[in-house]
Each structure stands twice: as structure tokens, then as C-alpha cells.
Amino acid sequence: MDELVFLINRGVIGGLILGSVYALGAVGVTLIFGILRFAHFAHGDMMTAGAFFAFMLAALLASFGVDLPVPLALALLPVVMGLTALFAIGLDKAFYKPLRDKGARPVVLVMASIGVTLMLQGLIRLFAGTGTRDMYLNAPKDIFRIPTGGRPIVVTEPQIWLILLTILAVVALHFFLTRSRLGKAMRAVSDNPELARVTGIPLETVVKATWIIGGGLAALAGTMLALDVSLRADLAYNMLLPIFAAAILGGIGQPYGAIAGGFIIGFAETFAIFNFSVILRPLADILPFAVPASLAVVPTEYRLVVPFVILVVVLIYRPTGIFKGRVF
């Protein structure tokens, strides 16, 4: 029983958390890829930027003595998401739109987004230093222990919020894309930009909406991740590869695929470094071989390899992803 709880604590909850963060990031990447046709490398740092907006606002409120039953950064989420969305539009205006208007190739836009990544990293480190910060300003993190008879299942407050908010965001996105005019227009542009243009869909509005959704979800993911662990300047750079892997796995331009891909990558990564010998230990008497002390698919320090291997396998055998994304 204890072993099962260990599996739930380490494997299932860890996978859900990681998967949620990846999924929220991958939706933005996949929408930008589908509509603007380039791989947005700065997406990870947009997540970090969102988390820093949340931290600064929360610190500001805390300095005025504001205290709420929920963490301040969480209560400020709508504001932070809006702020990051505006920030994303600003980035587009300043760096991507001029290139787009000049008719630059997508590769040039990718390179520009690498430039934006570096600028964001530089600015964040300049203003925030390279240390780590705790996003819980007013009270320590609530930790829930669900009794099971033996070892309890442990979930923390931000983890529960992250899972709930991810579900909420996914449902909202679904209704937006299938019911609203703008959402339908976005899907049309993603399917066929030429056709969408001649049918009179306002392209710039669609582009704006893409940045708003991408930026908002990035802020959500970044803030929640920072609440769950802690806030660092390099919070999201290492997330870039898994997020791209998730977007490609799900099929480029497919928001639902990105969500599925995010959770697949999240679980794959968590279970690849999970120590299965704990599960086998109760069976030690039955098994014909001795249970080794550590039995993980890859050692913990190689966890970055997992999403990458999945990415490469998908690229080789199914370049359009599992949800049949577009090939450009």
C-alpha cells in the first residue's frame, strides 16, 4: 500500500503538475505556430516573465499590508495574465510585426524570437538577480495529507490550484475556439491563411488574439509553477524543449493535441526517472532476481533527454504528430 502511495505521490501527481505546465505552454506555442507559422523560442521566458509580474505585484500588495486567505500571486492571476498578454502583444509589435511586414521567412522570425529570449533573460536577471525567491509571501504553503492507512498522499495547495485552473483554462479555450466568432476565425487562419484572408477575416485581430491567449496561458503556467517550486530567473528556459516536444507530439496547430502532448510528455518524464525498485520491493521474495537499489529508466540528471527522445521519435516516424497537425 505504501508503495502505491509512493507511486501516486511521486509519479501521478508529479506527472499531472508537469503535464499541466507543459500543456499550458504548448497550447500557446502551437497556436503561434499555427497562425504566425514560426516556432516561438521566447515562450519559455514569457512564462518566467509572467511569474515575475505576479511576484512584483504580490510583493507590492504585501508591502501595503494586504492579506488574503489565498496566496496573493494566485489572487492576482487575472491581472497578471492580462498584463502578460499585453506584454506579448508589445513584443509582437516591436520585434515580430516589422519582420512580418517585410515578408521575412519564418526562419528569420525564429531567430528574432531567440533574440527576444535573450533580451528577456537579461532583463529578468538584471532586475531580479539570479537567486531564488519564494512566491509565498504572507503565509507558508498549505500541505494536505490524505490519510490512506499507511503513508499519506501529499498534495500542496498550489498543485491543486494548478490542476483546477488548467482544467478551467482548457474548457474555456474549447468554448472560445468552437463557439466564438474570433475563435472560429483563428481556426480558419490556422487551417488555411490564404483562404481566410480572401474571406475577409481580419488577420491582425487574429494575430492579436493569438498573442493574448498564448501570453495569458504562459503567465498562468509560469506563476503556478513558481508557486509550486520557487521563482528563479531560469525558471522556464529548460521547459522550452518539453514544450516544443508536446506541441509537435500533439500535431502543430492543434490545441487539443498540444494539451494531450503536454500530459504525455509530463508523465513520460516523471515515470522515466521514477525509481521502480520501490514498487518491486514487496515482491522481493517472489521475484527470481534481487531487486536493485535503484531501477529508473534514466538517472535523474538525464531527465531532459526524455522529452527530446520522444520529440525525435515523433519527428522521424510521424512528423505531423498524433493529432495530424499540419506539415509546412
Partner: protein, 433 residues
């Protein structure tokens, strides 16, 4: 030579004048560094700039000739650098005397066997199996092979780490190591290229970024091979060392050797560019479909140039790391070893090798000089802020000031792309101007 048409005769002259003016300006800048920072310092900077220039030419032929988007430069630099360290570092007798050596040999045989096994499974279509089944079998075979091989490596590596520290090197001459650097980087490029070159450019970028991270993760954690965070030093030099000749002369000899290599690389690449091979490459870059319909093997040629570029990147990396005399896996970062090279190439002018060299030297000077400049600027801000507004700067202001370099590199990339997308020394296109 008299058969040349007047236009062809005139055009190069006109643009050579621009080249000469720019390089003269660069010379003045270098002289300024010599005057301000002293000869030993400036020579060190030039050696590093020359090594970066070789790397930049490697990236330039990938991007400028063939349009390949390689953001994994750091990985190939690291791979080349480590290969050279392995070949040239003095022999570690403790390793060869211990049981670790034969055990490691057996593990390597397992590795080769596993690769062959997975390769055979992947060829399953040839005996008539359906594609889906082959795919599934290959993935399963790959996973099984990975677990078996990592189990086989477990025992020897722990033994080596315990008894001998790490495996040491082969003690060969440094120039052999540099050749090995090119070969290893080229081999990795072959594998990556085989997998990714048929895909769209963005995918290649994502894949190469990942490869670089994986090479770094491996080299940092494989303590038995690289000593990991303990670092390997001092690396041997191909020229007389600082202890024998003093800073200035030793660095001068190293610079001479590096400059000769750079010159040879430049002349060879330049020749290839003007040969039919180079014309074919540009044709493929500019219109893939047309080139393909003319019977050119687009993916084959791309693989060729990807490997060639990575060979140069590997050699450049080896030259760079031997000069620094220490192999520290944590010291390789995307910023210095990937994005800085990208700035050099796009600032200098993609597709033009003189541009790559110019960009490499100019950007490296700016990069090196920006450190004291940023510190001075922030120190000034701190003093003035303190005097005028009573502002107390955070204690880590100096380390923060250095982060501005990240920002400046990013800003340079975006600005150059926007305002001078062809760089200061653009590729000269025949028959267009």
C-alpha cells in the same frame, strides 16, 4: 584573363574597397585594444576571436550556403573540445592498470552490438514487415538496448570513478586531437543530419538545441569520462607554453598557428564556394524545388554541408578549449557558444566568409570589452544614484551588470535582423546588382 567581360572585371574591385575599409577599421579597433589593455591581454583576445572565426565560418556555410538553422553550436563545440581532450591529455596509468579498462571495453562492445541490433530492426521493411510494425519494434528495441547498455556501463564506470578518477587521455599530439575533434563533431552531425535534415528549418533548430543540451548533460554527468564538475586541466598546447616563453610569446605562437588554420579553412571554403559545388548549394538554398527537379540530391547535399560545418565548429571548439587550458563542462553555455556565434554570422553577413571572420573579430571585441564597460557604467550609476537620490544599490549589482551582456546580444540579433538583415558584408550575388 582578358576574356573576362568588363562588368565581371569591375564588380569585385568596387566591393573589395568596402572590405578593405571595414577590415582597416577593425585593425584600428584591435590596435586600440592593444594600447588600452596591454599586448598579452589583446593577443589572448585575438586567439579566441580567431577560434571563434573558424566556428563562425562553420556556421556560416551551414546557414549562408544551405540555409540550415543550427542552434546547437555549443554541442558541437563541446563534442569537438572533449574529443580533443580525450586524445591529447596525458595517459592515466591508474586507469589502464585497473580492472575498469577491460570492463569498459566489454561495455563498449555491447554498445556497438546494441546499435547494430537496433539498426537491423529498423531495416525490417526489407523483409516485408509493415511500416507500423517496424516502427513499433524499433522503438521497443531501442528502449531495451538502452536499458541493457546502461546496465553494462554501470559497473565499469563506478569502478573507474572509485579507483582511477577518470579514464584520462591517450597522450597524442595536440594536432591529432584537433583532427579528432573535427571527426567526432562530424560523426555526430551525420547522425543528427540523417534524422532531421528532411524536416522544416524550425524543426532542425529545435532538434539541434536539444542535441546540444544532451551532449552537455552527458559530458557534465559522465564523471568517469570527463571528471564532470572537477574539470580537466591543464590541457596540452601544440606550441611552446606560457611557462617556457612567457605570456606574450606563447600566445603569439598560438595565435600564429590558429591564424594559419583560419586562413587555410577560409581559402578552402572560398574555393568550394566558387566551384560548381558552391553554386549547386546556393541553387538548393534559393530554390529547393527547382534544384531538386534539376536532379540535385537536396538532402544528400545538405547532409554534406551540415557535416562539413560541424567539422569546422568542432575544430574551432578544440582550438578554443586548448587555449583556455581547462575543460569545464559547466563552462559551456548557449549564450557564449551558440548565440554569440549567431550574432557574429548575421552581423558579418550570412553567406560571406569574409563577413563571418569580420563579424567574429568585431563581435568578440565588443563582447570582451562590454564586461569592463558594463561594470564601469553600473558603477557610475551606483555612485550618482547614491549621491543624488540616496539610492542604495543591491549588493550583487556587479553580477547583475554582467547579465546585461545577455540583453545586448539579444538586442543585437533583433536589430540586425530588422535593419541590416544581410549584415555589414553581404554575400555578393553575381548578376543581380
Amino acid at each position: 584573363m582578358t576574356i573576362l567581360t568588363p562588368t565581371e572585371d569591375r564588380r569585385p574591385k568596387r566591393s573589395y574597397r568596402r572590405d578593405i575599409a571595414l577590415f582597416a577599421g577593425l585593425g584600428v579597433l584591435v590596435a586600440l585594444v592593444y594600447a588600452l589593455q596591454g599586448s598579452a591581454y589583446a593577443t589572448r583576445m585575438l586567439v579566441e576571436a580567431a577560434a571563434y572565426a573558424i566556428i563562425a565560418i562553420g556556421l556560416n556555410i551551414q546557414w549562408g550556403y544551405a540555409g540550415l538553422f543550427n542552434v546547437g553550436v555549443m554541442g558541437f563545440i563541446m563534442a569537438g573540445a572533449f574529443a580533443s581532450v580525450l586524445f591529447t591529455f596525458p595517459v592515466n596509468e591508474a586507469f589502464w592498470a585497473s580492472d575498469g579498462a577491460p570492463m569498459l571495453g566489454i561495455a563498449i562492445l555491447w554498445l556497438i552490438g546494441a546499435i547494430a541490433f537496433v539498426g537491423l530492426v529498423a531495416q525490417g521493411r526489407r523483409i516485408g514487415l509493415p511500416q507500423g510494425l517496424v516502427t513499433a519494434l524499433t522503438i521497443i528495441a531501442g528502449a531495451v538496448a538502452f536499458m541493457v547498455v546502461s546496465a553494462k556501463f554501470d559497473a565499469p564506470t563506478t569502478l573507474i570513478e572509485r579507483e582511477a578518477g577518470f579514464i584520462g587521455g591517450f597522450g597524442l599530439p595536440v594536432l591529432v586531437g584537433w583532427v579528432a575533434a573535427g571527426v567526432v563533431a562530424g560523426l555526430i552531425a551525420w547522425v543528427v543530419g540523417k534524422i532531421c535534415l528532411g524536416l522544416r528549418a524550425d524543426y532542425l533548430a529545435i532538434a539541434t538545441l536539444g542535441i546540444a543540451q544532451i551532449i552537455k548533460t552527458f559530458l557534465r554527468n559522465a564523471d568517469w569520462l570527463t571528471r564532470g564538475t572537477l574539470t580537466v586541466s591543464p590541457l596540452p598546447w601544440p606550441t611552446p607554453t606560457v611557462q617556457e616563453l612567457g605570456f606574450l610569446w606563447a600566445r603569439g605562437f598560438y595565435l600564429a598557428l590558429t591564424a594559419v588554420i583560419l586562413l587555410v579553412v577560409y581559402l578552402l571554403v572560398q574555393r568550394a564556394y566558387h566551384a560548381p559545388w558552391g553554386r549547386m548549394m546556393r541553387a538548393i538554398r534559393d530554390n529547393e524545388d527547382a534544384a531538386s527537379s534539376m536532379g540535385k540530391n537536396v538532402n544528400g547535399r545538405r547532409l554534406e554541408i551540415f557535416i562539413l560545418g560541424c567539422v569546422l565548429i568542432g575544430i574551432g571548439g578544440a582550438i578554443l578549449v586548448h587555449f583556455g587550458s581547462i575543460f569545464d563542462p559547466s563552462g559551456f553555455v548557449d549564450l557564449n557558444h551558440t548565440f554569440l556565434v549567431w550574432v557574429m554570422v548575421i552581423l558579418g553577413g550570412a553567406g560571406n566568409n569574409r563577413g563571418a571572420i569580420f563579424g567574429a573579430v568585431l563581435v568578440y571585441i565588443i563582447w570582451v570589452m562590454s564586461e569592463p564597460a558594463a561594470l564601469a557604467l553600473f558603477g557610475l550609476a551606483r555612485d550618482w544614484g547614491n549621491q543624488l537620490f540616496g539610492w542604495v544599490a543591491p549588493g550583487d549589482l556587479d553580477s547583475r551588470a554582467l547579465q546585461m551582456r545577455v540583453f545586448v546580444i539579444g538586442l543585437t540579433i533583433t536589430l540586425v535582423l530588422r535593419f541590416a538583415p544581410h549584415g555589414v558584408l553581404p554575400e555578393r550575388l553575381r548578376g543581380r546588382d
